[in-house]
Symmetry: C2
Subunit: 504 residues, 2 copies
C-alpha cells in the first residue's frame, strides 16, 4: 500500500537546497520542538513591495448613510417631465399608481434634497454595507502607472451587485402598503436576483421575466432567484400579450430588456395586488443608489483623497448615478472638480450614438414617454455578455445631466473589456461581472495615459458586481471565441425612425 | 404604437384605494412639486419588528488579528506525531521538504503559542477581512426561538469561502522561497479556487486536480480557477500513475479527495520547482484559519455576548478549527465554557463512525500516516453535494482534541441540511454552500430545542462560504430529487479493514 511513497526513508540531498536549518533529531510536537525563533524568515524588499498592494480603505470605518441624495434638488434646470403615452401630456402621479407603490411615486417626483432612509432598510443594508472602497495597488503596479486607482465594490451584497440598494426599499415600501406580489424584468439576472432576495426577506411574492439570452446563458441566476422563492419566466414568454406578439414575429427572439419590461408591466397592470418594480432608469431607483456615492465621499475624505476622474459603466444608469450624483453635488458646490465619465458597450451606445428624445421605456409602448438618450424602443442589441447594459435608453436624469454638461460618455467593445477584466481579476483577485469590465477597461485606458503623461491622477471606479454567474463569458474570452459584434448603424437608424415625434 | 398602453388617459378610480394624497395639479419636477412633508409615511409596529432583524455586528469595528493561534501550545497532552509511510517512524521535518515550503513545515511542528502573520498576508486579508459576524434575527424569528443565533460569515472572500485564509500565506511562503508552481487537489472547488486566487496575486503557477464528481457538477468552479490562470484536471486523471491506477479499476470513478491528493502529491514530488499545498487537515492549515476565531472573540466581546454553543461543519476540519480553537483556548483558561459541536455529513461520518487510528491522508498511500478519525484511506463517499466534506479522515489535531473531550460530533443527512439552507437563505438572504448547511441544520435543531425548553442560548455558527457555484444542488432539492444516500456500514467496514496496523 505504501509502495508508492514519495518519501525516501533516508533523505540525503533533497533538503540541501533549502534555507531552513534542521537537524536529524528535530521532530514533531510530542517528540522534540523546533527552534521557535526561526519561524519568521526575512523577506526580500522586492517581494514586500509586490505583496503590499491591497489597501481596503474600509479599515477606516464609516457609518451607513441615513439619507439618500436627490440631485434634482440641486439642478437649476429641472429635467423634462415624462409624458403620458397616449395623451403626450405630462404624466400625473396617480397615473403611475397601478404600477408603483405610493411612496416610490412620491420619491420619483420629489424635489427634496435628502430623503431619510427608513431604519428597516438600513437594518438590511447592514448585511453588506458599508461596501469596501479598495485601492487597486496591484493593478497600478501591473500597469506601471503613477495614477492612484480606487474602486467602490458593490459585489459584496448577497445578490452580488449594487441592485439590492434599491430592491430593498422598493420591496419595503410595497410591503408596507400591503402589496402582495411584485413583478419585474431582468437582463443579466442581477436585478431579478436582487428583487427575489428582497422579496424573500419581506415575504412578498416575486415573478421575474428574464431576457431569453440571459435565461439560457446563465442558468445559475435563475436558480438563485428560485432558491429565494421567485418564479422566473424566459422573455419573450407566451404568458403575456406583448410576449406572444414578439414570438409571433420571431419565435427565436433573444429578447431584450424593453420586451421583458412590457411583459412585467402588463401583468402588474392587470392584477390589483401586484405592482411592478424597475431596477434602473427611474429617478427613485437612482435616488436609492446614492448610498454608494454618499459612503464613498466619506471614505475618500477619511483617507484624504479627492477623485480627479470618476468612471462607471452605464446600462440604465443607476450604478453610475449612485456613485457619481453625490460627487456632482460637491462639484456644483465648487468643492471638487472631477471629470465624470460614463462607459457603455459599443453594441448598445445610447449616450454616444443615440438621440436625446422622448421615447418609450419598453418595447410595446406601454410606459410613459421619457426624454432620454435612446436607440429606439424596439432596438434589440446584440447578445453581448454584459446583459445589464443591453437597454435601448438611458436614465432620463443621467441623460439630462449629460445634456447639462456635467459628465461625458465613451463606448468600448467587449473584447477590450474582458482583456481588462482578466488583468483586474489576476491582479486584484476579484472577478468582475461583464458590466463593470467597461469601467475597468476605461480605467486602464486612463491609467496608461497617466503612465505616458506622468500624471498621478486619482481615479475612482464603480465596481458594481462580481462575475460568479458570468463565468461562461470568461470561458469564451479565454478560448478566444469572444468577438466584437460589428456595430450596425443601419439597425439603429431603423429603430430611431420609430421614436415617437413629440413636441416638448 | 402606444395602443397597448396600460395607462388610462382619464384615470378615475385606480388611485382611490391608495393612502397617498395627490391632486390633479400635482405633477413632475419642472411642472409642480409634491409636498415634501408627505414623503415619510408611518409604519405599523408589526412590520417594524419584522424588518428590524439584521444586525451586522461588524459595525462595531475591530482590527484584523496580527497573530495566528496554535492550540498545540496549550495542550497538556500533545498530539501523536505523523509517521513515515514506509518506516512507521515519526516523520522528520526534512522528509516533508520536497512537498512543502520550509516555513510551512516549521509551522506544522511548532509549539509556539502565537505566530506573527506577515504584513504582506495581512495586506491581502484586508480585501475581505475582518469578515462579518451577523446576528440571524430573521432566522430566530422564523424559528420562534429564544436562542440568539450568530454566524461568522467567510463567504465574503473573493473565492467565496474561508479557504483563502490559508491559501494566501501558503502561496506567500512558497513565493518567498522561490518556488515557481504549486499543485493541489480540490473537492467542492473552494480550495482550488482559493489557491488559484492566491497564486494569481503572487504570480505563481497553479495546477489543480478537481474530484471528477465536482468537476462535472460544478463547471463554474473550474472556470473561476481558469480565470485566475490555473490549470485544472479532473481526478482521477491519466496524467499521474495514481490516477491511471484508479481509472484502470474503475474508468467511471467519481473520484475522491484522497485520490486527488495522491495525484497532486505525485506531481509535486517529481518536480523540483513545484510544491504541494493542502487546503485542510494539517496543523499549519488549521493554524492559518484561526484568524476567524480570533476576530470572532473580539467581535463577540465588543457586543457583550458569550457563546454557549459553537457549531461548525467538518470535512477536513479547518474551518471548524479556525473558529473554535481560539475559543477552546479561552475555555482552557476557564473564562468561558461553550459546548463545541462538529457536524459532518451522514454520508462521510469520520468523527462519528470512523476509528481513531493511524492512516494515510491519501488513497495511494504516499503521505505520512496520521493518527486521526478515519473511514479508511480508500473509502469513497457517495457523491453528496457537500463536496468539501467528502474526506475519509479528520484533521489529526481535531481528532486529538475530540479524544481529549474538548468537543463533540454529530452527523446529519443532506436533505435536512438543504431544508435548513432554504430557511436560512429565505430569512437571512445569504445562500450557503452545501458544506455549511450542516452547521445550519444543527443550529436549527438546537434553536428548536431552545424553543421547547425556553432557553435563550447564544449559538455561534461557522458560516464558511456561499453557494453561488452550488445552485444545481439547490435545483435538485427544490425539484424534490435530492435524496439521502443510504449509509453503507459494509462499505466502511471494508475500507477500515485496510487501515494499516501501527503500534503507537
Amino acid at each position: 500500500m505504501a509502495t508508492n511513497s514519495v518519501f525516501n526513508p533516508n533523505p540525503v540531498s533533497s533538503f540541501t537546497s533549502s534555507t531552513v536549518s534542521t537537524k536529524g533529531d528535530k521532530q514533531w510536537p510530542g517528540c522534540l520542538m523546533l527552534n521557535g525563533k526561526q519561524m519568521h524568515v526575512r523577506l526580500s524588499n522586492g517581494y514586500r513591495a509586490k505583496a503590499r498592494s491591497a489597501i481596503n480603505v474600509n479599515s477606516t470605518a464609516i457609518e451607513i448613510p441615513h439619507q439618500w441624495y436627490n440631485l434634482v434638488a440641486d439642478l437649476a434646470i429641472k429635467p423634462p417631465p415624462p409624458l403620458h403615452p397616449k395623451t403626450f401630456e405630462p404624466v400625473k402621479p396617480e397615473d403611475l399608481s397601478p404600477l408603483f407603490a405610493d411612496e416610490l411615486i412620491k420619491q420619483e417626483v420629489t424635489d427634496e434634497r435628502f430623503i431619510d432612509i427608513p431604519e428597516e432598510v438600513i437594518d438590511v443594508y447592514r448585511l453588506w454595507r458599508p461596501t469596501p472602497l479598495i485601492r487597486a495597488k496591484r493593478l497600478e503596479k501591473l500597469l506601471d502607472t503613477p495614477a492612484r486607482i480606487y474602486y467602490k465594490y458593490e459585489g459584496v451584497s448577497p445578490a452580488g451587485s449594487h441592485k439590492p440598494n434599491t430592491a430593498i426599499p422598493q420591496v419595503y415600501y410595497n410591503a408596507q402598503q400591503g402589496v402582495k406580489n411584485v413583478v419585474t424584468e431582468t437582463g443579466a439576472g442581477q436585478w431579478g436576483s436582487s428583487l427575489a432576495f428582497a422579496c424573500s426577506l419581506f415575504s412578498l411574492g416575486c415573478e421575474v421575466w428574464q431576457v431569453r439570452a440571459s435565461y439560457d446563458q446563465k442558468p445559475y441566476r435563475k436558480l438563485m432567484m428560485q432558491t429565494w422563492g421567485a418564479k422566473v419566466h424566459p422573455s419573450p414568454s407566451d404568458i403575456t400579450q406583448s410576449g406572444r406578439k414578439i414570438l409571433q414575429m420571431d419565435p427565436s427572439s433573444p429578447g431584450s430588456l424593453g420586451i421583458a419590461i412590457s411583459e412585467a408591466v402588463e401583468i402588474a397592470a392587470a392584477n390589483e395586488d401586484t405592482k411592478y418594480c424597475l431596477g434602473s432608469v427611474l429617478n427613485h431607483v437612482l435616488l436609492h443608489q446614492t448610498v454608494i456615492g454618499e459612503e464613498c465621499i466619506r471614505q475618500m475624505e477619511a483617507i484624504g483623497e479627492t477623485p480627479d476622474l470618476i468612471i462607471g459603466c452605464t446600462g440604465g444608469g443607476s450604478n453610475f448615478a449612485g456613485l457619481s450624483f453625490p460627487f456632482i453635488r460637491e462639484k456644483l458646490k465648487g468643492k471638487i472638480n472631477p471629470v465624470i465619465r460614463a462607459v457603455e458597450p459599443a453594441a448598445c451606445p445610447s449616450l454616444t450614438k443615440g438621440v436625446y428624445a422622448y421615447d418609450f421605456g419598453d418595447t410595446a409602448g406601454m410606459t410613459p414617454l421619457m426624454k432620454m438618450h435612446t436607440l429606439g424602443h424596439d432596438f434589440i442589441p446584440d447578445p453581448i455578455h454584459a446583459g445589464g447594459l443591453r437597454y435601448h435608453g438611458m436614465a432620463p436624469l443621467i441623460s439630462h445631466v449629460h445634456e447639462l454638461g456635467f459628465m461625458e460618455a465613451i463606448s468600448i467593445p467587449q473584447t477590450e473589456c474582458f482583456q481588462g477584466a482578466i488583468q483586474f481579476a489576476r491582479s486584484e483577485g476579484i472577478i468582475p461581472a461583464p458590466e463593470p469590465t467597461h469601467a475597468i477597461a476605461a480605467t486602464i485606458r486612463e491609467a496608461v495615459r497617466c503612465r505616458e503623461s506622468g500624471e498621478s491622477k486619482v481615479i475612482l471606479m464603480a465596481m458594481c458586481g462580481h462575475g460568479h454567474f458570468d463565468l461562461a463569458s470568461y470561458e469564451k474570452y479565454l478560448q478566444g471565441s469572444l468577438v466584437d459584434l460589428s456595430f450596425e448603424e443601419e439597425k439603429i437608424k431603423e429603430s430611431l425612425a420609430k421614436v415617437p415625434q413629440v413636441q416638448a
